[in-house]
């Protein structure tokens, strides 16, 4: 554990809109230099959380410190140290990319050179283009450029790749990684699992205003005592799935039996639980999914402190399910 103060410290954060409780007491902390992912379905409370941290909304309760300051005070000093990429935000349509960026640079005490920012977000070719002529993806890159030009220590990215094509997503991911390499702290929200898995050092899964689980993607995916899924199709064409903490001996047993019967285990696979499974399990998003997903054992909820889920019940019985 680093002794440096956290970049973001959130304790018992609450927020209501009328009778709707958007945040029901969430706590997490983001260390300096890490990429923290707030992962959850639409309406989970992700944007409300970041907008409180950005100083756009007042909290209902709890305490919040961003770079050691209360964002509700909206001090200029704090705003100069933070870069914000909002979900959808217009920009001056009649100005060129370069004009907008250099204007923004002038609003900050220690801006980065505009040419450098254009390079980082890949808009050098478009520097003299009016912003209204940019494509959707290019506009998102300009959004990022505007958030970077003040050379912030902390960057908020609210659903940075929603609506991107796969190639553009990869590019955006590379940009986020390069920002981390520069030592920036990044808080990103996403409803894409692969994005959280690919980018985040720490992930908090949020739903209905509560944090359901928290930890590194590896920890959330299982960590100590992770349960493997062994599946195959048996002689009758049925798909069989087993959960186990000890795949080695289970495989030995299964293959031994099969060989003894002179059968083959078709489509045999051994998979580690992914962040995706944990996510689907916790958020209930799999409800409309396959039956096999429904059959997965209950996963442990995060503790109040928000640590990684500890696996219990190591001897849970294996299940056999039939595919419809």
């Amino acid at each position: 554990m680093s002794s440096a103060p956290a970049a973001i410290e959130v304790t018992g954060l609450r927020k209501s809109y009328g009778t709707l409780e958007a945040l029901r007491g969430i706590s997490f902390s983001v260390r300096r230099g890490e990429v923290f992912g707030l992962l959850g379905p639409n309406g989970a409370g992700k944007t409300t959380t970041v907008e409180i941290l950005e100083g756009y909304r007042e909290r209902g309760g709890g305490s919040v410190a961003v770079l050691g300051e209360d964002p509700e005070r909206r001090s200029r000093e704090l705003r100069a140290r933070v870069g914000i990429v909002l979900q959808s935000c217009g920009i001056y349509r009649h100005l060129t990319v370069h004009e907008v960026l250099s204007h923004w640079a002038g609003l900050y005490p220690r801006p980065r050179p505009v040419a450098e920012v254009l390079e980082v977000v890949g808009l050098t070719d478009k520097a003299d283009e009016r912003t209204r002529r940019l494509s959707g993806g290019q506009r998102r890159r300009l959004d990022l450029g505007l958030a970077l030009v003040g050379d912030p220590e902390l960057i908020f990215l609210d659903e940075p790749t929603t609506g991107f094509d796969p190639a553009a997503r990869r590019n955006a991911w590379d940009t986020v990684r390069s920002l981390r390499d520069l030592g920036k702290t990044i808080l990103l929200t996403t409803h894409y699992l692969d994005e959280a898995q690919a980018l985040a050092d720490q992930v908090a899964i949020i739903k209905d205003g509560r944090i359901l689980a928290q930890g590194s993607p590896q920890e959330l995916g299982g960590g100590e005592g992770e349960r493997y899924t062994v599946s195959y199709v048996d002689g009758a064409g049925r798909r069989v799935e087993h959960r186990t903490l000890d795949p080695t001996s289970l495989l030995h047993e299964l293959t031994g039996q099969a060989l003894a019967r002179g059968q083959r285990l078709h489509k045999l696979s051994v998979t580690r639980p992914s962040l995706e499974e944990v996510y689907l399990e916790l958020t209930g998003e799999h409800a409309a999914g396959s039956e096999t997903a429904m059959e997965m054992g209950p996963l442990e909820r995060a503790t109040e402190a928000g640590g990684p889920p500890a696996t219990t019940d190591p001897d849970s019985p294996t299940r056999v399910t039939a595919d419809a």
Binding site: Y56, R76, R79, L86, C89, H94, L95, H103, L107
Partner: protein
């Protein structure tokens, strides 16, 4: 850190540049009143009594277009497009930003009224304004009044698409009954009463006195009072309803 004034000045220069790059803004703020002046002036050419009404009328209308219309449109668009929200996330102080927006509108009003005054002298048989102070006082009062009312109206406009409809639904009847194009003495009594209660007629009366009749400020204190009341209402509504975020987000 650059101070608020320098940042406001920077923002003001950007607003000026954007104004000239936006054809719609340039049209509504400059070409429309000036072409109306040219057109009506040509029609009334030779009839000095009509010209004496039209020139100050267009000057008053210019104050309203450059502030009321421009700000009602712009504040709606900036809010709904998310520009206001984005600006709010930067270190640009709120006062510097809003000050720059206001200064942009004031610049347009000043330039426009100056053009009308010069055109009145050169083409439409008016002398130079007889009371410069009165001219400045009424332009300033009109700017404050219509700017705040424009911002206040923007709060009631749900999106950019409906802005022109709502703004013109207010603007067109007001200029028609307030004596921009004709002497309101000939209008029906109830329309005159409505016009008396609205600020534009009083701005035009003041401008007319400054530019044509030479009747001093002292004769127009009640006009200033009406403009002042509307200003107070406009400022209260503009501040209370202000939102940095659009309805869509």
């Amino acid at each position: 850190m650059p101070d608020a004034l320098a940042l406001g000045w920077r923002q003001y220069r950007l607003e000026r540049r954007m104004f000239w790059r936006n054809p719609a803004a340039a049209f509504f703020n400059f070409l429309l009143p000036l072409s109306l002046l040219a057109l009506l002036g040509a029609v009334a050419s030779g009839h000095q009594r009509d010209l004496n009404i039209i020139v100050p009328g267009i000057a008053g209308m210019s104050v309203m277009t450059t502030t009321f219309i421009a700000l009602a449109h712009n504040m709606t668009a900036l809010r709904e497009d998310g520009v206001l929200k984005r600006i709010r996330g930067t270190p640009l102080p709120t006062g510097a930003y809003l000050g720059a927006l206001a200064a942009n509108a004031v610049t347009n009003a000043a330039v426009q009224v100056s053009i009308v005054v010069v055109a009145g002298k050169l083409f439409f048989g008016l002398s130079w304004p007889k009371d410069w102070l009165e001219l400045i006082v009424f332009v300033a009062a009109g700017v404050v009044c219509f700017a705040s009312l424009g911002v206040a109206l923007s709060h009631a406009i749900p999106n950019s698409e409906s802005a022109p409809v709502i703004v013109n639904a207010v603007f067109l009847p007001v200029i028609l009954i307030s004596g921009v194009f004709f002497d309101p003495k000939h209008a029906p009594g109830f329309l005159r009463d409505i016009a008396q209660a609205l600020p534009l007629k009083h701005v035009i009366d003041g401008l007319s006195a400054a530019m044509v009749t030479g009747r001093g400020l002292g004769d127009h204190l009640s006009a200033l009072a009406v403009i002042g009341l509307w200003s107070v209402a406009g400022i209260v509504l503009a501040v209370r309803g202000f939102s940095w975020e659009g309805h869509r987000s």
